[in-house]
């Protein structure tokens, strides 16, 4: 990883260029406040030294310990500059999981946000077509959440138990 992309360098650059923004570093990742995500995304995509034009991966995490929250993790690369990754994380509360969609910045986020919505129930405001992608329409709940209780097919095997 070159020096520019180190989390502390990226943090400095973002805090200078995006007014009123304070970021925290966690490992190799930057924690972005949900309401500033689009500004940060546009800056990283468009500013000259970064040009992070490729969203390689978007995934979600469900944390049930240490201040339970849902987290979306973004891995950004640059096709133009041939560098990366820069890792961003956005945290939302589990009971009201709203955060902005980045489809307007990286078009490739569309299906990945649908998957995270389907399995974790994070609602990406501004997504053009936010509906389930893996489970069927009419499915109840979000199965990758840690408190999801799946149907008990095993109970069949213990019908007299």
């Amino acid at each position: 990883m070159n020096d520019l992309l180190r989390p502390d360098a990226t943090q400095q650059a973002l805090q200078q260029r995006v007014p009123g923004l304070t970021l925290t570093i966690e490992g190799d990742a930057l924690i972005i406040p949900a309401d500033r995500l689009l500004e940060v995304g546009r800056f990283l995509k468009e500013s000259e030294p970064y040009r992070l034009d490729y969203l390689s991966n978007l995934c979600a995490v469900d944390f049930v310990v240490e201040g339970a929250h849902l987290e979306t993790v973004y891995h950004l690369y640059s096709m133009e500059k041939k560098h990366g990754p820069v890792v961003l994380k956005v945290r939302v509360p589990r009971d009201n999981p709203h955060q902005p969609s980045v489809v307007s910045v990286w078009r490739g986020a569309e299906y990945q946000e649908r998957e995270a919505y389907d399995l974790y129930g994070i609602i990406y405001d501004g997504h053009p077509d936010l509906r389930r992608i893996l489970m069927w329409d009419g499915f109840d709940g979000h199965p990758m959440r840690k408190d999801y209780v799946q149907e008990d097919q095993d109970a069949l095997e213990e019908r007299h138990a």
């Binding site: 995490v61 990945q112 893996l134 069927w136």
Partner: protein, 220 residues
């Protein structure tokens, strides 16, 4: 009417074959089982290997993989049956012409396999359609699949035309296609095909146990 085995053998040496019509009929059927060309997961790769030159399923007369269920005799359920795929598998089975057979290939098709505890995987295709041969393995080797095919041929050899299911008027051999429900497939199984097994006791301890939550994170 039984013909003396010694006489039968003697006649065969002279080029005369004596057999029951039923035997001839079953010999014809077992020697040209046309499988349906579809695979669901990695087991399909082994099925392809079985069909290729090295293992050559053509030696058993089953090389003609048909792309249409209307022309197939055998459904090889090769791979993980997800809950989302199960209705289509049952529908394909319904569309096959009689007589039809099913081989459940691999741990997933038999029981859900390594995905047995998953929210999205059916715990065995035998909950919805009748399975003739179960081929264990993860995935089964081509030899194992060929062995399963030979087991199926043995089964065909023993069938009597007078009492085969598909000529009887009693049971319609078409099975209801499960629907997508809010929790999973509805119904959870077809009671005409499959019944939950009697309890053995080994599952008893696992039922009331709370699912333990590990503090690590899970990602998509």
């Amino acid at each position: 009417m039984a013909i003396d085995e010694g006489l039968k053998h003697e006649l065969r040496r002279q080029g005369i074959v004596v057999m029951k019509l039923e035997e001839l009929y079953n010999w014809g059927r077992r020697s040209s089982i046309w499988p349906m060309q579809f695979g669901l997961a990695c087991c399909a790769i082994e099925m392809i290997a079985t069909a290729c030159a090295r293992y050559d399923i053509a030696r058993f007369g089953a090389e003609l993989f048909r792309a249409s269920p209307r022309q197939a005799d055998l459904m090889i359920v090769a791979g993980t049956v997800t809950k989302k795929m199960a209705p289509q598998v049952v529908r394909l089975y319904n569309q096959m012409a009689e007589p039809k057979y099913v081989v459940a290939m691999g741990a997933c098709a038999i029981s859900g396999g390594p995905f047995n505890r998953g929210y999205n995987v059916l715990k065995g295709i035998d909950r919805y359609i009748p399975v003739d041969v179960h081929v264990p393995g993860c995935p089964p080797t081509p030899q194992a699949l060929l062995d399963g095919l030979m087991k199926l041929q043995e089964k065909i050899d023993t069938q009597h035309l007078a009492d085969v299911e598909w000529y009887s008027r009693a049971a319609p051999r078409e099975y209801p296609v499960p629907r997508f429900g809010p929790r999973g497939l509805e119904p959870q199984y077809n009671p005409h095909v499959w019944q939950p097994p009697e309890p053995t006791g080994i599952y008893l301890s696992s039922k009331p146990k709370e699912q333990k939550r590990t503090p690590t994170a899970a990602t998509t």
